[in-house]
């Protein structure tokens, strides 16, 4: 009987989902578990909102406020730069270019996602940072701005990929009606495709934001890694850079080690809240 097959199918889907939820929970629980010892020594508020990070000093101080700000600052900057470029490119790819050129350009853009971050970091260091130093007379080019620009390139393919596919679908569905009204392609893009792709643009941004917040190596190489309050043209240190930089040296099971996990946990929560806000906004925009 076919219904039997269907039951099996349902079970498989449920199992697969269960799998991914298990993984998700496992990772979250692991991070939380490794974070807890910190909060026996430092209050959550102190950890979040004080300024100094000196886990090896005497007295120890572990607070990551500057890194929290830096993480948010750099990632949002990256999104702000990448979003218009990404959406613009997705529009161009999906609605303007011929299928032929598209078929070459799209895989080319997708490889941007596959270039290792070290290489991005190196390019950032040799080109971007250098550029600021030479042209803007910065004493050193390592800065939030450099990090934001570099990250924006790295997240570009995520935004483009997510938007482009749904724009093609929308355009397929309504193009004929729009063209029947004698309206130009650009008008259709502006007044039909863009508003109808809102959800995809949001989904892409969220994915890209996650990528931006989690990215380590490349940012680490161009942002200067100074645990100070971030300024656009000044150095800063992101949470993920902090973790990557110090995890290698932190003694396992020391307070330092747990503090780094706690920083990871905070990063996770920030991302979660930003995503929730995004979801809330998109829900209310699209009435």
């Amino acid at each position: 009987m076919h219904r039997k097959f269907e039951k099996i199918f349902a079970i498989i889907i449920k199992l697969l989902t269960f799998f991914s939820i298990i993984m998700l929970s496992f990772i979250i629980i692991f991070i939380i578990k490794e974070s807890i010892p910190v909060f026996k020594k430092v209050s959550l508020l102190d950890f979040l909102f004080k300024m100094e990070w000196n886990p090896l000093g005497e007295p120890q101080s572990i607070s990551i406020f500057p890194m929290i700000l830096a993480s948010i600052y750099v990632s949002l900057l990256a999104i702000i730069i990448a979003l218009p470029i990404g959406v613009g490119s997705a529009i161009f790819l999906s609605s303007v270019l011929s299928e032929k050129i598209r078929k070459i350009l799209k895989p080319a853009i997708d490889i941007l996602a596959g270039i290792p971050s070290v290489i991005y970091g190196l390019i950032g260091l040799l080109v971007l940072v250098k550029f600021f130093e030479v042209n803007f007379d910065f004493s050193s080019g390592e800065s939030v701005l450099a990090g934001g620009i570099l990250l924006s390139i790295m997240i570009l393919p995520y935004i483009i990929s997510t938007c482009d596919e749904s724009m093609i679908r929308i355009s397929k569905q309504y193009k004929i009606m729009s063209e029947g009204l004698g309206v130009s392609k650009w008008h259709m893009i502006r007044y039909l495709i863009l508003p109808a792709s809102k959800k995809s643009i949001f989904a892409g941004s969220i994915l890209a934001l996650g990528r931006a917040m989690g990215e380590t190596m490349a940012v680490m190489m161009v942002i200067g890694n100074s645990p100070v309050l971030p300024k656009l043209f000044g150095k800063a240190q992101t949470i993920s850079a902090l973790i990557a930089l110090e995890m290698g040296g932190a003694e396992v099971d020391s307070l330092h080690y747990h503090a780094l996990f706690a920083a990871g946990f905070v990063l996770m929560m920030i991302l979660f809240f930003i995503n929730m806000i995004f979801h809330y906004i998109i829900k209310n925009i699209d009435l």
Partner: protein
């Protein structure tokens, strides 16, 4: 073009408020940490010394490898070079008025997991034995000593092109190659973690890491010499390399002020905290 010229002129006549370090990636975090403390302490040059002008204190540290550090000093693109190996005579010949400051020593210990009874059976390994272990001639622990378990030896190294491995290669392995399927750990922390997690692992953990993890990993003696601070400074313990800051020509007064701070007790404490053996 004119902007660059005027800048150069300025630096010739006026007080130079920036100091540039370039070179070894091993040393870079140490110098960076010390300079951060220095800057935090004084903020502006006039606080360091009344004779200096009220200018902001800028010390820049960039990593690029020891050889890049030497090169930067030769062509003058950096004020100081950071080198984590000895500087060859040929290189010294290219630097007029060569000066070198020894900040400390980086020593590697041959360490194993506490569950591995090798440290009870053989407190000390000879260079030859280490060679055989790392080159893959000994595949199982019982080949080293028959009382040990018949279990595969797990070799952990740093990346084979990196500074740490170069020292190990030069001081222990000589011409022999480390076996191909050794685990290359991306950081010293990862290397140590691996030794702590795997009871058959052996690797060269840095001196500092061993001290941070006493009891969790066990360092063995090499040719009968144990890796203690004294033995390392005296040079009796052989798997080590010097951490040097090098300079072409005379120091400017402000540069001297910073080097003094580097070599002060405060500086040395940071060197030790970062896992190295301080020079003093």
């Amino acid at each position: 073009g004119s902007k660059v010229n005027s800048n150069e002129e300025a630096s010739n006549n006026e007080f130079k408020s920036q100091i540039l370090f370039k070179g070894s990636s091993t040393l870079a975090p140490v110098i960076a940490k010390i300079s951060t403390n220095f800057i935090e302490k004084y903020k502006t040059w006039d606080k360091v010394d009344k004779d200096f002008p009220n200018k902001s204190l800028d010390i820049f540290v960039s990593a690029g490898g020891s050889s890049a550090g030497v090169k930067a000093v030769i062509d003058g693109s950096s004020d100081f070079g950071m080198v984590s190996r000895s500087v060859s005579d040929e290189e010294k010949g290219k630097i007029e008025g060569y000066k070198e400051f020894k900040i400390g020593l980086d020593a590697l210990t041959i360490s194993v997991n506490p569950e591995n009874k090798v440290y009870e059976v053989k407190k000390s390994l000879s260079t030859e034995e280490i060679q055989k272990i790392f080159s893959g001639e000994y595949k199982y622990w019982d080949e080293l000593d028959s009382s040990l378990a018949h279990e595969e030896i797990v070799i952990v190294t740093r990346d084979l092109g990196g500074g740490a491995h170069k020292v190990f290669q030069k001081k222990v392995m000589g011409d022999k190659k480390v076996r191909e399927d050794a685990i290359q750990a991306p950081s010293m922390g990862a290397l140590v973690t691996k030794i702590m997690e795997n009871k058959n692992a052996i690797g060269y953990a840095s001196y500092g890491m061993v001290n941070q993890n006493t009891g969790k990993i066990i360092p063995l003696d090499v040719d009968g010499v144990s890796p203690t601070k004294e033995n390392i400074i005296s040079g009796d313990y052989k798997i080590s390399r010097p951490l040097l800051v090098i300079k072409k020509g005379e120091l400017l007064p402000q540069e001297k002020a910073f080097i003094d701070f580097l070599l002060s007790e405060e500086g040395m404490k940071i060197v030790e905290k970062m896992g190295f053996v301080p020079a003093k």
